[in-house]
Symmetry: D2
């Protein structure tokens, strides 16, 4: 991660090695692997900001996916080493939107977007904690 | 399936029992289980029309997901018995769009939409076969 | 299920349609799909005995897998309709052993065995409830 | 990896971050996640020896799991950083056996063993290639 990137608290980058078990009979990553990677991306983005989703759940704050969109442009193949960029694009009162770009050697394979709702232990909507806004 | 349903070749209904392995630490089905169920729904819709996706692949016709959208309204819980409705909403020259509604006891839990592109063995776009238009 | 089968409270049978997402680039069900099916088999065996694993967890009784063995003899293919037989082969003080046979059209594809340990909410070993012994 | 380890071509070590999607309602990694990690371990072991399973499949050599054993001792939790050690314990004429040890901070969580059979494109048993014996 370059120095400029480290300054941008809302963008994270991780590398992903495509697992054999994630690939289907077409020999490519199954389309449901991508949202799993997006989830990893936003959790590592939290960690890069010295926060952990595990701690939020322990404190009674749950982030549930309420909307998902993926556009698949080029297939990811077994054993590919991919780069995933995750960005917090919007933080509302009770929701957070992330956008994702998945690349292999700089070439865009897929884009995605998720909306998370902030829930308490009873599953009721609650305000996004300040620590997630910082 | 009622007689009226059988007459509608573009709508299919299946039941899904939520697997333990599909649920996450929140105790609900992980959001990536839903597109797996959608895939089952459109494949059973083919079967209800006396076609099988296995035969299409054997014949060199591949349907690859190029777009996915899901809206999650209420959580599906472990062991829930769900009803999934899958509809072919649009058939273009090289693409097919399906829409989905997932319910438990008639209550809507989620909706979804996928776009499939028709590919040949080399991964090139090809026209949707007539047998898929019937 | 035949009448004779219904009399045997320790044996259950379910049908499984192999999902596309469960298959790998070899075009066969990935080896990790089998223990997922075994889990379904033992949960349906509970249900056939008018019990539900969901209720046990709600009551604070957790059955955790502590040992797993699978022998793969013939591959299961995408879209295959499989028959899974699950048998409770041993019930100890704190553990339950199940054995499994997976077939397609009567031909044996795989066998398996799991040992479950009975845990309380704190993850401590506890005696198998009487209702699971009946 | 220490210098001694680098000399041992039959032992590999990888780190694994437990994914949220791999965890179940008990809040721990589902038991089917472990064989996925073992698969990653033996593939990275190949890579550490300048070989790639992708190349073997491209050359018509397939390694199919024919036996799996796992012993679960302590649960792996969401977000845990695990260390997996994979060892080639036996290479026969047509089969390869690996053994695995999964640890968190040096504490043993699980052990495993897999037997792979070497298959050609038609799914027939074939001798283990010399390059895998080296």
């Amino acid at each position: 991660m370059t120095k400029e990137k480290a300054c941008d608290m809302r963008t994270g980058r991780i590398s992903i090695r495509v697992r054999y078990s994630e690939c289907d009979p077409m020999g490519v990553a199954h389309h449901t692997a991508y949202p799993v990677w997006f989830e990893m991306g936003r959790m590592e983005l939290l960690r890069a900001n010295d926060r952990s989703y595990r701690d939020y759940e322990a404190a009674g704050v749950f982030l549930a996916v309420v909307a998902l969109e993926v556009r698949y442009k080029k297939p990811a193949l077994y054993d590919d080493l991919l780069e995933l960029e995750s960005v917090v694009s919007k933080i509302g009162h009770v929701k957070i939107t992330h956008e994702y770009a998945l690349r292999r050697n700089g070439k865009l394979l897929a884009t995605g977007k998720t909306t998370l709702a902030c829930l308490d232990r009873e599953g009721k909507l609650c305000p996004v904690p300040d620590s997630l806004r910082a």
